[in-house]
Point group: C2
Chain length 254, copies 2
C-alpha cells in the first residue's frame, strides 16, 4: 500500500472569540495533534475562527470536504454565544431540534427536573442524523455528523469526548518519529548536509527544530516516516552527519 | 466613526509540520493575540499549515486579501524545510534573491566570513520589494511585504520581531474588556438572562467561559466593547443578573 492510498487526514477547527482575543490560551490543538499522530492520522490543518455563524459554517464546509475527519472544539454550551450545533446543521443543510437521547443525558444530571431549563435544553439541540458523543463530566453531549466530530472547548471535557471518539476512527499506519540531538552544532552548519539527506531519502520527512533558552540554541533534527527501515536509514545518515561535524570542530586550546 | 469603519483586522498563519504532529506546542498564537488585542487590532482568524508550498501559498493569499494584516510564524531558518520566504514571493508573484541588507545583518553575526555559508545565506533570500524586520537575537531577519509580516517560529525571536513590527501597525480603538465572576452560578442558570442582556446591548460582545478544575466549574462572563459607556452599562446588567441569582439560591440548612 502506498502512503497516498492509506493516508487518513484530519483538520481541527477551534471556535471561540476567547482564543482570538488572547483571553484563553488554547490547549486543545496540541492535545488533539498528539492524539491523532499516535493513531496514524495526519493532522493537516488547523483553523481558529470567532463565534460568528458565517465564519464557522464556511470553515466547516471548507475543512470537512477536504480531509477525512474534522474535529471542532468550543461553542456547545447553554449560552447565546454557543452556536456550533446550529452552524453544523447549516453547513450540512439539515434541520436541528431537541434530541430525545441528549435530553435524557441532561436529565441524568439534574436531580430537580425544573433545573433542566430552556437554556440547558439548548445543549440537547442536535442536527438531525447525528450520533451523540458522551460527555462523562457534564453530560451535555458532543456529536458526530458525517465526518465532523463536535466537541466541547473545556479541555478536560474535550479530552473525555476524544476518548469516546477514538474507537470510531479509521487508523492509519502510525507515523514513526525519531529525534537526533545536533549536539551543539548550529543549523547553518548542518543545513546543506541535511538537505542532501532529505533529497536522498524521499520516503522520510526531515525537520530541523531550534529552540532558544535566552542564551544559546539547541537544535533537534526529527526524522519521520511510516516505514521503519527508511526511518533507520535516514537516521543513520543524520547521525553520521552530526558526528562528522562534531569531529571537525576546532579544538579549543585549554 | 462606526466600529465597521475603524476595525483593523488581522490573521495569523502558523507554518510548520511540528505543530501539526504535536511535537511542538505552539506558544505564538496566544502571544500575538494578546499583543494585537492590546493595540486595538482584531485577530479574526488563525490557520496552521504544514511545510508544503501549495498549502502555504494558498493560505497566504486567502488571508492577506481578507484582513488588514497577516502575520506568519515559522519556516525562515537555513534548512531545507524552511520555505516561507519562497512561498511569500510566489503568493505575491515577485522574484526572490539574496538581499544585500539581509546579508549584511547575517555577516555581523559571524566572526569568520567562511561561516556565512550557502545554507546560512538562504536566510538572506528575501522577496523583492520587502522591508526587513530586525532580529536582535540571531540576526536572520524577518520581513514585511505589503500587509504580510513574516516572523520566526522560535517564540523569543518572534516576540522580538513583533516588538519591531508594532510601531509600523495602524492601531484601532482598543477593545475594552471586563470580566464578571459568576460566583458559583452555573451557566445554565444565567444563560437566558445573559442572552437577553446581549440582545439589549448590541454594542458589546458578551461571552461566557467555563473552566473545570476536575471537580467543579468556575464561570467567567466577559463583556467587550470599544465604547466605555456601553461596556459599563452591560457590565452593570450582568452584575445585577448574577446578584439576583445568588440571592435566589436555596439557603442550605446548616
Amino acid at each position: 500500500m502506498s502512503d497516498h492510498e492509506t493516508a487518513i487526514t484530519a483538520a481541527v477547527l477551534v471556535i471561540g472569540d476567547e482564543i482570538l482575543s488572547g483571553r484563553t490560551k488554547d490547549k486543545n490543538i496540541g492535545y488533539i495533534a498528539d492524539y491523532l499522530t499516535a493513531m496514524g492520522i495526519d493532522l493537516k490543518e488547523v483553523r481558529v475562527v470567532p463565534d460568528e455563524e458565517v465564519e464557522i459554517v464556511a470553515a466547516i464546509n471548507a475543512l470537512r470536504s477536504r480531509y477525512t475527519y474534522l474535529f471542532t472544539t468550543g461553542g456547545i454550551g447553554p449560552t447565546h454565544d454557543d452556536i456550533t450545533a446550529d452552524c453544523v446543521a447549516k453547513a450540512f443543510g439539515v434541520d436541528i431540534s431537541h434530541d430525545e437521547r441528549a435530553v435524557a443525558m441532561l436529565r441524568s444530571r439534574y436531580e430537580n427536573p425544573a433545573d433542566l431549563n430552556e437554556a440547558r435544553l439548548r445543549m440537547a439541540r442536535i442536527p438531525h442524523g447525528a450520533d451523540l458523543i458522551e460527555n462523562p463530566i457534564s453530560k451535555a453531549p458532543g456529536f458526530r455528523l458525517g465526518n465532523v466530530f463536535v466537541m466541547a472547548g473545556v479541555p478536560s471535557i474535550m479530552q473525555a469526548m476524544l476518548d469516546n471518539i477514538g474507537p470510531l476512527l479509521k487508523t492509519g499506519r502510525t507515523m514513526l518519529s525519531t529525534s537526533i540531538d545536533a549536539q551543539g552544532t548550529p543549523e547553518g552548519a548542518y543545513a546543506t548536509g541535511l538537505g542532501a539527506i532529505q533529497k536522498a531519502n524521499p520516503g522520510v520527512i526531515i525537520g530541523s527544530y531550534p529552540s532558544f533558552d535566552g542564551k544559546s540554541f539547541t537544535n533537534q533534527i526529527v526524522v519521520r516516516s511510516r516505514d521503519e527501515a527508511l526511518l533507520q536509514t535516514a537516521r543513520s545518515a543524520v547521525e553520521a552527519l552530526v558526528a562528522e561535524l562534531v569531529a571537525a570542530r576546532p579544538t579549543k586550546v585549554p
